[in-house]
């Protein structure tokens, strides 16, 4: 028996030793100024595909020696998992135009991302394009491991027809303060025009808090992130006010505790939704909608209201052989001209300063987007800290228990979760 075990154990040890060694070599062999063909991935929705195809075509026409091969990001349960797997396998493309800021700290830890400030003009290009907003995307070591690209500032969408049916003013809905919002929701519910007044996903995925708690928390605090200076910020009167507001909606049956299969707002299952401007092209023809900023306890003026950015950025990956070309493509794809084409094609907001001033014609022709363009300058990003996803999952678990299902006290949830988050943010 012993004689059989030894060779097997030896082989296993050899395999492990080899695998351990394989973690230490290198990414793409090319340096920061290396040039040649590159590959990129982009998101898989129709409007983004159209934009990406024209961008690639335009670049390839002008750069015959540095061609882009482009494809949609491979299917997976989430793009973050696909990207993480590609980093580990060493076959990530040069650029991914769909990199979630929440995943950037992990990708950085994996050694998968290039610090864009390592390019001579990297720091200046990013800060000049995005202004103060760029700071939220800076990593703890001072580098930029993501190009701030586009945001979908989250606002309240409401169904004008259902509001009118419930006897509410569809042009000037009363949704500014928590009290107004709750009263309007009760009116909608009593009128029976929809199953729920509002129906954000009540499920347990880590990112769901970005579409219920976080936008309102950003508004209530005037732009505070969930974690700042390595500590949780939400165990505060503002955090409690937001949690109380949502708990009231769930407790009174104004928001649904059960997952809806489909789009609740598009189907008329809920009279309101809390989403970004990507939804305009989705709801445009099917729902007569209006939009307002998210509410606050005191009713903040729209031009002062903050919200969650729901941004997606661009990562330049270490597996890239031709990083010099990739950086040039990145600048080309985020140039004023391409950002304008992006805005036209998708209605999503490029993360550049003075957006409405840069594209006045677009916003004049598309007034529905103007408030999103304005809102884009007051958006809060997920904190760029270690254990980012785990922090959000921890928060979601506590939120789900005390706010959605009303078990346990909110102050206890906030303080207990803040303690856990502090530890995670410290890298424990």
């Amino acid at each position: 028996m012993r004689r059989r075990i030894i060779p097997v154990a030896g082989a296993a040890a050899a395999i492990l030793a080899l695998s351990a060694c394989s973690g230490g070599s290198g990414g793409g062999a090319g340096g920061m100024d290396s040039r040649g063909d590159i590959t990129i991935w982009y998101s898989n929705n129709e409007a983004e595909i159209a934009w990406a195809e024209q961008m690639v075509e335009s670049w390839n026409a002008e750069n015959p020696d540095e061609q882009i091969t482009a494809q949609e990001i491979p299917a997976g349960s989430s793009s973050e998992e696909v990207i993480s797997a590609a980093i580990t396998a060493g076959n990530a493309p040069c650029l991914i135009f769909n990199t979630s800021p929440a995943a950037v700290p992990e990708f950085q830890r994996q050694g998968g991302l290039v610090d864009l400030t390592d390019f001579e003009d990297g720091e200046d290009y990013i800060t000049e394009r995005s202004g103060d907003l760029a700071e939220q995307y800076r990593s703890e070591d001072g580098g930029f491991y993501q190009m701030p690209w586009k945001s979908n500032p989250v606002m309240i969408f409401y169904n004008k027809a259902l509001f009118a049916e419930a006897g509410l003013d569809p042009e000037n809905p009363s949704l500014s303060t928590y009290d107004e919002f709750l009263e309007t929701s009760r009116t909608l519910s009593e009128a029976g025009v929809a199953e729920y007044a509002i129906n954000p996903a009540p499920t347990s995925e880590f990112f769901q808090s970005w579409f219920d708690f976080y936008p309102l928390y950003a508004a209530e605090t005037g732009g505070t992130q969930l974690v700042e200076d390595g500590a949780a910020t939400f165990d505060s009167p503002e955090g409690e006010a937001v949690a109380d507001f949502w708990r009231t909606l769930y407790a009174e049956g104004l928001a649904g505790q059960e997952q809806y299969q489909g789009d609740a707002f598009a189907d008329g299952y809920s009279a309101m939704a809390i989403v970004g401007p990507w939804a305009i092209s989705v709801y445009g023809d099917t729902v007569d909608w209006g939009s307002v900023p998210v509410p606050t306890s005191g009713g903040t003026a729209p031009e002062e209201t903050w919200t969650f950015s729901d941004a997606k950025n661009v990562g330049l990956f270490t597996a890239c052989e031709n990083k010099g070309t990739a950086w040039d493509v990145l600048k080309f794809a985020t140039s004023e001209e391409q950002d304008g084409l992006w805005l036209e094609a998708t209605g999503q907001m490029p993360l550049r300063q003075d957006l409405t001033g840069t594209y006045p014609d677009y916003f004049a022709a598309n007034p529905a987007y103007e408030q999103f363009g304005d809102q884009a300058s007051r958006t809060v990003e997920v904190p760029n800290v270690p254990n980012s996803v785990e922090i959000w999952q921890t928060f979601r678990d506590g939120y789900s228990e005390s706010v959605i299902f009303g078990e346990g006290e909110i102050p206890t949830f906030l303080s207990d979760t803040a303690t856990e988050v502090d530890g995670l943010a410290a890298g424990d």
Binding site: G24, E81, T88, N387, E401, F405
Partner: protein, 294 residues
Amino acid sequence: MLRRILGSHPLGLAFAAPYLIFIGVVFAYPIVFAVWMSFHDYFFAAPGAVVDRPFVGFDNYVTVLTDPDVWRSFGNVGIFLIINVPLTVALSMLLATALDRVARAKTFFRVAYYVPYVTASVAVVAVWLFLFSGNGLVNNLLGPLAPEPSWLINSALAMPTIALFVTWKGLGFYILLYLAALQNVPRELYESVSMDGGGRIRQFFSVTVPSVRPATLLVVLLATITGANLFTEPYLLTGGGGPNGASTSPVLLIYQRGIEQGNPDIAAAIGVILIIFVLIIAALQRRLVGGEDR
């Protein structure tokens, strides 16, 4: 020396080599590697990244065993097994016995029971969501007796509902196992019980149940392993283990910790504990059900 290493029939090694390599690469290596990961501060990294993965002893196991979410997930799977395994054995044995005696449309019934098993969970889950949602068919039929909160968002009922779903979905496969086992039961045994005045029920308990004991052990083992690997159903039916983690399974937790949160070392430790858990349960079941042909 060569003979000592290769044995008296070296050609046999050549025949066995493909299977040994397959087992080594597909089964042994991942398991050994997972155990190795669970004792190190391990995370996935780019091939080019220089990262430190120090040996941390039992730190990952301490983290796992002091995590209430882990305990809860094992408790959840315990609830699942208590409902799913006996129900699977009882229903599949009964239905297989009934099917064995059906004279007409035998193929139709076999296919009818088997279809849910071969249909992807993702497709079937939509039907169950329709049935068990708050305003679904089941609650409409129950009227005032419908649970509040509804099935899948009720922390006491979410896991039992999932257990029922998995039982229903897997039944066809286990029925086939029992049908195969029933082919080997001598008809004379039934006749002799009948001669002694025993009816159908007596025949079932005196002949069928003891005769298919090896199949029962197999069904119990497979159902337990299926239950321990539970992932798709809670992920899809309850939106990621809700409500409040009441339907989170250990494998779902492995997915969250290892893939979503980038802690494969913790996930590997949960996986190792899960393997030990399944082995203990299987050993207990073997002792209780009895696996030997006596």
